[in-house]
């Protein structure tokens, strides 16, 4: 049997990939910043060092176990190296711990305390770099970055985006978006997973607590709050309760004590989403078009699709997310019933999500200058408000949600876990298609933490193929397979965060998978505890249609509960200038070479345009440039001639477009 020794104790080598794994399994918590079981091995932070006899100091995360190794995890040399590493990291770190957003949850703070670092021999950071506050969801503070690369690998390996990367070299190394741009200028989707994995306060969630207090203290406002499903199984963690414990009643009680006038449940609008979305699905199944239908509840996924998959936007359900449906219900219908103007109502949502902060600012969700949802607070921000107010969470008496948006089905609750939306939709689709009552409501195939979950569900003779992905990297892979025809589905659920909303970046910090699993268990348990399990059985939903929305996908429902999407370029930037006109009256021609257009041959279009311009001898009358996105991706390749966008200009089409739109406006 292969063995090695750790601190004089003989241990068998099983299948551990690294010494770190093996030593941690023995119950020794090796410190680390850059090791995370969900990400690739990086070996940069040097905190997990151990001493191997004959080899000296090595990083345990990147050293595989070998028989006969004699390892020391706490030798004087190891102790010295770790402390020095910490000191060096701290010397280059803005040490304003008391005013840091991450204080109390910071790994650097925790390890400095654990190793008793009391003095830093290397002075302080003298260079103050500017903060990036451009985004609606996240704030980046490069002065607090320890260059562990966790966010870089999270964004690329798990989310498949790669907004952040290292730049420069040596003492000038920084982590940030391309060309030192702000997060708002690049294809960041605001999922916030970078902030969730950041061991320090270098990327944090933008706090809106002050604005929440201001609204609560404003006597002219009726402050209404909605609570997302995933919050109820995670908030307790902030107050010492186990992960996954259902604390719905306490959350409601706390919100009422904080001064919210009405406390409502987002699960109600999740039930509404199920009906709207399932009707859309059934419609598309009946007249097969734009399949698969993708879910649209997750704002990070929606923004990802807008940046990267413009051809698939017509596949996205037009349903607004439950948060936005809720905002619409409250401000457009319920307000009237209460005799209030929309501007006198302030709607807050408690969300596990950072992208929701961006979602409320989308222009589609503002009606006559008034946002449907005014403010988003994350689970963590709510925890802070509860602490600030001095409420003892564990002593709170459970309270109930207010009417009319307080009663939900289990299907609305499971929206919080990956697979939940698909399962809720299947529960509705079955009854809608077959006209029979669904007895067995659980669809276990779509539950769990596998990156891609597939199910072929027989809905009364019709086989519906469903896929569920979480983590945008998995979505990217799946879309690749759909595009090449390797896979076919009728319905696809996408959630940007691993595990779904329960793993959102607004939740209490949880790196361990076990915590997310416990939360998911809590969600499914809440489903079982529900009196009703199917959205279509919820009497409140029936009432909403009766009173306000007529019927699913009605004209009225479309106006207030559905939305549309836009295409977005991946990065803001300048065009590539190719020809410069020397005439006063010039013709401006821009050829899109963004991803979509490029793949459809826009480069050849460009070449062909230049050739034709030369041939006609008008090369000097045209301002010709290549641009990165004309946001006309659905009919790419696109060309903009002065203000007019012309779609479908393939190289073969250049001749006719050139003759009809360019040549006749030129001066020769």
């Amino acid at each position: 049997m292969n063995t090695l020794s750790v601190d004089h104790q003989t241990v068998a080598i099983k299948n551990e990939k690294s010494l770190l794994e093996l030593i941690r399994n023995m119950g020794i918590e090796l410190p680390t910043f850059c090791y995370n079981s969900e990400l690739s091995i990086y070996g940069a932070c040097r905190m997990c060092v151990v001493e191997i006899e004959g080899r000296g100091i090595v990083a345990s995360c990147s050293t595989p176990p070998a028989p006969g190794m004699k390892i020391f995890t706490n030798s004087p040399r190891v102790q010295r190296v770790r402390k020095t590493v910490l000191e060096l990291l701290l010397a280059n770190h803005d040490r304003e711990c008391t005013t840091c957003e991450k204080s109390g949850h910071c790994k650097l703070q925790e390890l400095a305390e654990r190793f008793g670092v009391r003095k830093i021999r290397y002075g302080e950071r003298d260079l103050k770099l500017p903060l990036d506050t451009s985004g609606k969801s996240l704030v980046r503070d490069p002065n607090k970055c320890i260059l562990c690369g966790d966010c870089v690998r999270m964004c690329w390996e798990v989310q498949g985006i790669g907004v952040l990367n290292f730049s420069n070299r040596g003492s000038k190394v920084q982590v940030g978006p391309a060309f030192n741009k702000n997060l708002a200028e690049v294809d960041c989707v605001n999922c916030g997973q970078c902030s969730a994995i950041c061991p320090t306060g270098a990327i944090v969630v933008k706090s809106e607590i002050d604005a929440a207090w201001t609204a609560l203290h404003d006597p002219t406002k009726l402050v209404v709050v909605q609570v997302a499903p995933a919050v109820r199984v995670a908030l307790g963690e902030e107050f010492g309760l186990p992960a996954g414990e259902i604390v719905t009643g306490k959350v409601v009680a706390a919100l009422k004590k904080l001064g919210f006038d009405k406390v409502f449940d987002t699960c109600v609008s999740a039930d509404l989403t199920v009906l709207e979305e399932t009707h859309e699905l059934v419609e598309r199944l009946e007249n097969p078009a734009d399949l698969p239908l993708f879910t649209s509840c997750c704002p990070a996924w929606v923004k990802y699709a807008e940046h990267n998959e413009p051809e698939f936007l017509k596949h996205l359900s037009t349903c607004r997310s439950p948060q936005q449906m809720f905002g619409s219900l409250v401000k457009k219908y319920w307000a009237k019933e209460m005799g209030k103007k929309p501007e006198d109502i302030f709607t807050v949502s408690i969300m596990p999500c950072t992208a929701k902060k961006f979602e409320i600012t989308r222009p589609e969700f503002t009606t006559d200058g008034i946002p449907d949802v005014d403010l988003v607070l994350t689970t963590q921000e709510l925890a802070r408000m509860i602490r600030e107010s001095g409420l003892l969470f564990h002593q709170l008496e459970a309270a109930s949600f207010d009417t009319p948006f307080g009663f939900t089905s289990g299907a609305g609750v499971i929206f919080g876990a990956s697979g939940g939306v698909a399962e809720a939709a299947l529960r509705a689709a079955y009854e809608m298609i077959s006209g029979k009552v669904l007895e067995q409501v659980n669809f276990e195939e779509v539950r769990g933490f596998q990156g891609l979950k597939e199910a072929a569900v027989n809905l009364d003779g019709n086989e519906i193929k469903v896929a569920v992905v979480h983590g945008l990297g998995n979505a990217k892979k799946l879309i690749g397979k759909i595009k090449t025809g390797k896979s076919f589905y009728h319905f696809v659920e996408v959630m940007a965060c691993p595990g779904g909303c329960i793993g959102g970046a607004g939740q209490p910090v949880a790196v361990e998978k076990a915590v997310k699993e416990a939360r998911a268990k809590g969600i499914y348990h809440a489903d079982i505890l529900s009196q009703l399990r199917k959205s279509q059985d919820n009497p409140i939903i029936a009432k909403l249609y009766e009173k306000w929305l007529e019927q699913p996908n009605s004209h009225e429902a479309h106006a207030t509960m559905h939305t549309k999407y836009i295409t977005r370029g991946r990065i803001t930037g300048e065009d590539i200038q190719l020809l410069t006109s020397k005439h006063q009256q010039k013709l401006d021609v821009a050829v899109c070479v963004g991803t979509c257009c490029y793949l459809k041959g826009s480069y050849d279009t460009l070449q062909e345009l230049m050739r034709r311009a030369d041939q006609a001898g008008i090369g000097d009358q045209i301002n010709l440039h290549a641009t990165f996105c004309l946001e006309g991706c659905s009919q790419s390749p696109s060309v903009r001639i002065n203000e007019e966008i012309v779609g479908g200009v393939s190289p073969e089409q250049v001749d006719s477009v050139f003759t009809s739109k360019i040549l006749n406006r030129s001066q020769r």
Binding site: I576, K582, H583, Y598
Partner: protein, 174 residues
């Protein structure tokens, strides 16, 4: 309408030729992530620097994130994200050159080409002046290099002669 046409500038067509070159370079190297560095080197040889929009374009073609390409381009000293002059003058400031007076040589060059404080490149994009650590020609210290050519045993006086000669050649070429 010919009166509208400004003075003829042969350079006006350069950007276009270069963009065609970028595509040629990419096609020749293959659209592989592994050849990012050779592509950047060739593009820089063409443009004398790496323009932001070209880097974005390369990222898109190679299916990399712009941040990754930016990371590579800022890592290596050989790449520049700022436009460089037609003549890149590298002044060696290694130990040998430093003790033999590379500083006065540098000052003389900067003064001669009319560089403002803190700017490495002249506004007409003719000259870029930079110091580097060692050219490996310590026997000839102090050494400078203009584009690919080495000049040894420099003095502030010699600088004037060399740049005069460059200017004359430039004039002849026109």
């Amino acid at each position: 309408m010919d009166t509208d046409i400004l003075t003829e500038e042969p350079q006006a067509m350069i950007p276009r030729r270069r963009f065609e070159k970028v595509n040629e370079i990419i096609e020749r190297n293959g659209k592989l992530q592994a050849v990012l560095i050779p592509i950047l080197q060739e593009v820089q040889a063409e443009y004398r620097y790496l323009p932001e929009e070209i880097l974005t374009y390369i990222a898109m073609v190679l299916n990399l994130s712009p941040a990754t390409v930016y990371g590579v381009a800022t890592f290596y000293a050989q790449f520049s994200l700022e436009p460089k002059g037609k003549y890149v003058i590298k002044i060696c400031d290694g130990t040998a050159c430093h003790v033999r007076g590379s500083d006065p040589v540098k000052d003389a060059i900067r003064k001669r080409v009319g560089l403002k404080e803190g700017c490495p490149t002249t506004t007409d994009l003719k000259y870029t002046v930079e110091t580097i650590s060692c050219l490996g020609a310590c026997g000839l210290a102090p050494v400078i290099m203009i584009n690919e050519k080495i000049y040894g045993q420099m003095t502030p006086q010699a600088i004037n002669i060399i740049i005069d000669k460059l200017e004359t050649e430039e004039g002849d070429a026109k």
